[in-house]
Subunit: 194 residues, 2 copies
Amino acid sequence: MLVHKDEAKARIIEIARGIFSHFGFKKTTMEEIAFATRKGKSSIYYYFNSKEDIFKAVVEKEADELREHLQNSMSMVLDPIEKLKVYIIVRMNQLKERTNFYSALKSDYLSHLEFIEKIRKNYDQEEVRIVENILREGVENNEFNVDDPHLSSIAIVTAMKGLEIPLLLDDEKKNMNHRIEKMLDFLFYGIVRR
Amino acid sequence: MLVHKDEAKARIIEIARGIFSHFGFKKTTMEEIAFATRKGKSSIYYYFNSKEDIFKAVVEKEADELREHLQNSMSMVLDPIEKLKVYIIVRMNQLKERTNFYSALKSDYLSHLEFIEKIRKNYDQEEVRIVENILREGVENNEFNVDDPHLSSIAIVTAMKGLEIPLLLDDEKKNMNHRIEKMLDFLFYGIVRR
DNA sequence: TACGAATCGACTAAATTAATCAAATAGTCA
DNA sequence: TGACTATTTGATTAATTTAGTCGATTCGTA
């Protein structure tokens, strides 16, 4: 019964993901989620307390998958320079694939909603930590020349955010990899100990 | 002033088309249309009397374009057999390209709304007339073997509608041309005078 | 049968939204 | 300029929509 319930929840999350990704948080109604899951609206509330909760679960699952993908990719690499490179590239490519989802969120220009911001900030902090760890490793290995890893990691993550915008807005996803490589060159030229 | 106003209307129609095509009629709000056109919501009402009116204008424009495309394609062809073939193929391919628009409409399962049905029926009648004319031509040329062109044209249009559904629902657009050809074979084997 | 798990319909309070209107602003031409 | 029209807008409202609740019903199963 416990397992069964979790299965049902997972199914709701997955179906809701599809709807949220197309219509965004605000425009997605509980009734649609219910209808798509072939349940009554009230049944959904048996599994989740609110629309927000479903949305959080969806985003968390999304984040989990991204996280996992990143960890898998990085687990192979030891050298901090390569690690940072892989991290950024994989991250950007994943984002590229998830563009639909994120652009749907943007289309609620309700994005300012507290809890969305909160989720976002949490995830940003996690990213900063990951990058920071890579930087520290690089400093220890004497490969990086960074005096304030924390501040630097914030700068790098911020730079990545900056690259997200043209990625989400434009459809010039083709030049993207090229642009990322450029940025990496620039970044390393300043960071790597010569 | 008159021209200027029409330009503004045309611009609103075009921008609204984009929003409708993504969110469907119901989920699209006047405020969004206004925001996207960089106008106040009330300004939109200066150009259109209602949301319905905007939607009608959008659909009409869409239909006009399809019509024009069909006429262009058919103007080249004289033989009724070829004409019918071209008509069906072009029509289905156009529909394929416009799938986004139509599938957004489906996602309002408010599609039942009277006026959407009405628009649809009007357009269906027009299609029946076109096909009917082609059939009559074919009968006169002694190429077709059809005793009731009107009824037959309804049958053919209905068959095309039948093909629309898998086209809209599935994403197997690849097999589509193949399927259309099959249908045409079947159709002609029964229709063409041997 | 009994008992908890799951579903559902009916309902409400709150939020959203289409449409209106009167007032403000921009544009034009004599 | 000033008078007149075209356009835009903010405030408002009436109607609709929707998130969330609750009590009742059905399902599964032991």
